[in-house]
Subunit: 468 residues, 2 copies
C-alpha cells in the first residue's frame, strides 16, 4: 500500500496538505479544550480532491475529521487521536450568483456565513441564519451541525434552509443532490439526513440554500420582565399579534446583564428598571406599508398595561438597534470573563421555559449550592443556553459538571425538550446522549451510521458509536 501521507501530499500539493507545526491553527477546538495533533490537515480545492482524500483515508483506515470554521462547541471538528486527518473545506469558498426569482443560491461548503451575508446585500436578498460565530462559521459546518441561531423560529434551522447538497460519501463517491426546490420527495430525505450528521456520513462540499427578500424595515425593542413567566406570557401575546414579523425574540437573565455590565462597562441598559429577565424583540417586514413601529409599540404598551412588561425601550436608530443586539450577543462574553463556566444547550417547548429554569435551578442548587445560573437564548423556539458560573468567590464546579449536565438533560427531555438543541453531540456529549437516549434510538442511529459508513472512517467517535 502506498504511504497515505505521501498520497495525500501528492494529491493536494503544498497549499493543500499541511503537516507538523502548520497544523497548529486547526488542531484545537473553539473552546481550546480538545484536539490532538493530526497526521496532517487536508485542504482540498475541489470536490474531486475531497473525494480523493476520502478514498485515501478510507483505504488506509485513517479517521477523517471534516472541519468548517471550527467554531463548534462539542469538539466534532478536531482530532481525538493522532492517526487522523483533518479535512478543512476553507479553500472551497466560492459563492454563486443568487437566483432572485427562485430565492436560491449555490455555495461551496467553505463559505463563511458572514461572507455570504455580505455577498447577498447588494441583491436585496438575505440568507436568514444568524449566530454569534457567523464571522468564522462556514456553510459546511452549519449544515453538519444543523445550526439554528437567533432567527430559527421564523426562518428555520439549516435543515429547513438547505434545498440541495453535494456530498462526498464515505466510499469516495459523490452524491449529487444539488436540487434547488423546497418540494422534493423522490425517496428518503437525504438532504435532511446530512443536516446535523456532523461529518459522520460524508463530507458536504456544496449546498443550494434558500434565500428570502431583505426586510425593508425593522423595529426593535428591549424589555425587562419581573419574572420569566411574564416573559413567556408576553411571548405568546407577541406571536398572536405580530407572528409573521418576529425575527428575533432573544432573552437573557438578570445575572447575565450584571455580568455584562461588570466586565464590559461600556454596555448599558437603556432604562433604569432592572428585571429578572430581558427580551430583545425584533420585527421585520418586506413591506413598506406595514406600521411596524406602531405594532411593536402597541404590543409593548399592552404588555405594560397587563403587568407583564416591567419596562422597555424602542430602538430609535440603527445605532441603538445595534446596541440592543450587542447587549444580547455579549452575554456569553460577559460570563466567560467571569471565569470558569458550564454550558448547556437545552430546548424545551417555549411555554415550559419558566418551569424549566425554576426546576433546573433547584436541581443545580441541590448538587452545588450557590451555583449561579445564567439562562439566555431564544424564546421563539425554547432554546435555552442554560449556562452556569461557580458559586460566588469560587473558581470551579468541584467536578460536578457531569452530574449537573445529566440532571438538566433529564429535566429537559422529561418536558418534551432536548439536551442538544443546536450545538449537536460532537464528541463531548456522546456519553450524556448514551445515558439519555433510549436503546431503540441509539440502535437506530448506530445502524444508520454503519449503513452509510461501513468502514467507520468518517469522523469516528462523533454523534454515535457505531458498535450496537
Amino acid at each position: 500500500m502506498t504511504d497515505p501521507v505521501a498520497a495525500l501530499s501528492g494529491l493536494l500539493g503544498g497549499k493543500g496538505w499541511l503537516s507538523g507545526d502548520d497544523t497548529a491553527p486547526y488542531r484545537r477546538d473553539w473552546l481550546d479544550r480538545y484536539g490532538v495533533a493530526p497526521l496532517g490537515v487536508a485542504r482540498p480545492a475541489t470536490t474531486a480532491e475531497v473525494a480523493g482524500v476520502v478514498r485515501i483515508c478510507r483505504e488506509a483506515g485513517i479517521a477523517l475529521v471534516p472541519q468548517g470554521g471550527n467554531t463548534g462547541l462539542c469538539a466534532a471538528a478536531v482530532a481525538a487521536r493522532p492517526d487522523s486527518v483533518i479535512l478543512s473545506l476553507a479553500r472551497m469558498n466560492a459563492i454563486g450568483a443568487p437566483d432572485r426569482d427562485s430565492g436560491t443560491i449555490l455555495v461551496e461548503a467553505g463559505v463563511v456565513l458572514a461572507a455570504l451575508h455580505d455577498a447577498l446585500e447588494p441583491h436585496g436578498l438575505i440568507f436568514p441564519m444568524h449566530l454569534g460565530a457567523e464571522g468564522s462559521a462556514r456553510i459546511g459546518g452549519l449544515v453538519g451541525t444543523n445550526a439554528g441561531g437567533s432567527h430559527a423560529s421564523r426562518y428555520g434551522m439549516m435543515s429547513d434552509l438547505v434545498l440541495g447538497l453535494e456530498v462526498v460519501l464515505p466510499d469516495g463517491a459523490v452524491w449529487d443532490g444539488l436540487r434547488a426546490v423546497q418540494k422534493d420527495n423522490a425517496g428518503y430525505p437525504l438532504r435532511k439526513l446530512f443536516c446535523g450528521s456532523e461529518g459522520t456520513l460524508g463530507v458536504v462540499t456544496r449546498a443550494v440554500l434558500r434565500l428570502f427578500p431583505a426586510p425593508k424595515q425593522r423595529a426593535t425593542a428591549l424589555l425587562a420582565f419581573p419574572d420569566l413567566a411574564s416573559m413567556v406570557a408576553f411571548g405568546t401575546f407577541l406571536r398572536e399579534e405580530a407572528g409573521e414579523f418576529l425575527s428575533g425574540l432573544e432573552f437573557f437573565s438578570g445575572l447575565g446583564m450584571s455580568l455584562v455590565t461588570k466586565h464590559l462597562p461600556e454596555i448599558v441598559l437603556p432604562f433604569a428598571t432592572r428585571g429578572a429577565a430581558y427580551l430583545l424583540v425584533e420585527l421585520a417586514s418586506s413591506s413598506r406599508h406595514v406600521p411596524l413601529d406602531d405594532i411593536l409599540a402597541f404590543t409593548l404598551e399592552k404588555g405594560m398595561e397587563d403587568g407583564l412588561v416591567g419596562d422597555g425601550a424602542l430602538a430609535m436608530s440603527e445605532t441603538q438597534r445595534a446596541h440592543f443586539w450587542r447587549l444580547r450577543e455579549e452575554q456569553p462574553e460577559g460570563q466567560r470573563l467571569e471565569g470558569d463556566q458550564l454550558k448547556h444547550d437545552i430546548a424545551v417547548p417555549p411555554g415550559a421555559i419558566a418551569r424549566f429554569v425554576e426546576a433546573g435551578a433547584a436541581l443545580c442548587e441541590g448538587i452545588l449550592p450557590g451555583v449561579r445560573i445564567n439562562p439566555f437564548g431564544h424564546l421563539g423556539d425554547g432554546n435555552i443556553h442554560y449556562n452556569l458560573s461557580p458559586p460566588e468567590g469560587r473558581d470551579g464546579f468541584e467536578g460536578k459538571g457531569p452530574q449537573i449536565g445529566e440532571a438538566l438533560a433529564r429535566l429537559a427531555t422529561g418536558m418534551g425538550g432536548s439536551f442538544a438543541a443546536e450545538h449537536g453531540l460532537g464528541r463531548t456529549k456522546i456519553a450524556l446522549a448514551d445515558a439519555i437516549r433510549s436503546p431503540q434510538e441509539r440502535a437506530l442511529m448506530a445502524r444508520l451510521k454503519a449503513a452509510v459508513d461501513p468502514s467507520g472512517t468518517m469522523n469516528p467517535g462523533v454523534l454515535v458509536d457505531a458498535a450496537e
Copy 2:
C-alpha cells in the same frame, strides 16, 4: 408457528381485524388503479396493538402496508400482493389539547387533517397544512408522504411541521421521539427521516405538530396573466413586497380554466379577460394593524402598470374568497371530468416555471402531437402538477404515458427540480425513479432501508427496492 391470521384476529378482536369482503373499502387506491385483496386489514386502537401487528407480520414474513386516509396518488398504501396485511390507523384518531404558549399539539396518526383544523378553530390556532384531500387524509399518511400542499412555501412541508414522532419500528420496538421542540440535534434527525419514508421504515403512530396563531385577517385576489413569464415575474415582486404575508400563491392554466367552466358551469371567472395563466394570491396576517387589502391592491395595481398582470379581482367577502379558492381547487376535477389524464408531480425552482412549461410542452408535442397540457400548482415553491389530457377528440395517450413521464422527469431534474415533489414515489414511480436517480443515490436509499428494516416486511416494493 402460530397461524398469523389467527394471531392478528386474536390480538385485535372483531373491530380491529377485517377479512374477506370487509376489506373492500381499504383495498383500492384513491385513483382506483391499484390494490389487490389482502389477507386482512388490521385496525389497531393503540400503539401497543400496532407493535403487536408489526411483530406478528414480521415473524410470519407478511408484507405490512400502512394506510392513512388512502388518498395517496402513488399507490403506496394498498397491497401489491395477496399475502399482505393493510394496517389502517383510522381508529387511532385522538387529538390532544393544544399548547398555546408553545404552539404544539399531540395527535394520533389516524386523525383526519380537516378534523384537526376544526378542533383547533376555537383555540385561535392553525395547523397550516392544506391540500385537496384534507377531508380524508390522515396525519400518519401526511407524515409518510411528507405532504406539502398550498401553504408550504410559507409554513413548510410536514417535515418542517413535525416536531416529534412516535414510530413502531420494523422489529416491533417503539421509538419514542415525541419531543415538542423545533431545535433538537441529539443525533441523526430521525423525525426528518421518517417524514417521506412512506411506511417503509416503520409505522408512525403519534406526532407532535407545530401550530401557528390563526390569522386575524386575509386578503385574496384572482389574477389573469398574458403568459407564464409575467406570472413568474409578478411572483418575485409579490415575495419582495409582501413576502411574510403570502399564504397562497396558486396558479392554473387557461386550459384548466376552460375545462372547469365546461364541466362545472356554476363556476365563473370574476372578470372578462381570459389569460394564459391565472393566479390566486392570498395574504394573511396575525395583526389587525396591517393594511392587508391595501398592500394587495398596491401590488396588483403595480403589476398592471408594469404590464405583468392582465386583469384581476379582489375578494370583497368571505363568499367571494371561497369562490376564488374553488376555482383553483376544482382544477383536478375539471380535468378528471374531461376523461383520461396523465398526472405529473413536478417541482422546479420558481423562476424556471415558465421555461419548464414551455420546454415540457415541446417534449410532449414531440411524443404525442396535440396532447393538451394543463399545468397548475404552487408558484411559491415551484410545484407544478403538469397534467395532460389526450389530444382533442381522443380517449387516451396511445401508451405513451411512461415515455412522456420520463421526458418530463429528466427535464425537471436537469433544471434542479424534482419529478416527485409532494406525492412521493410509492409503487408507481419506482421504475421512473430508478431510471432517473444516480446509482449512488439509489444505493444509499437501499442501504438505509436495509439498515432499518432488515427483514423487508415494511411496505416492500415502495420507495426503493432494498436489493442493491
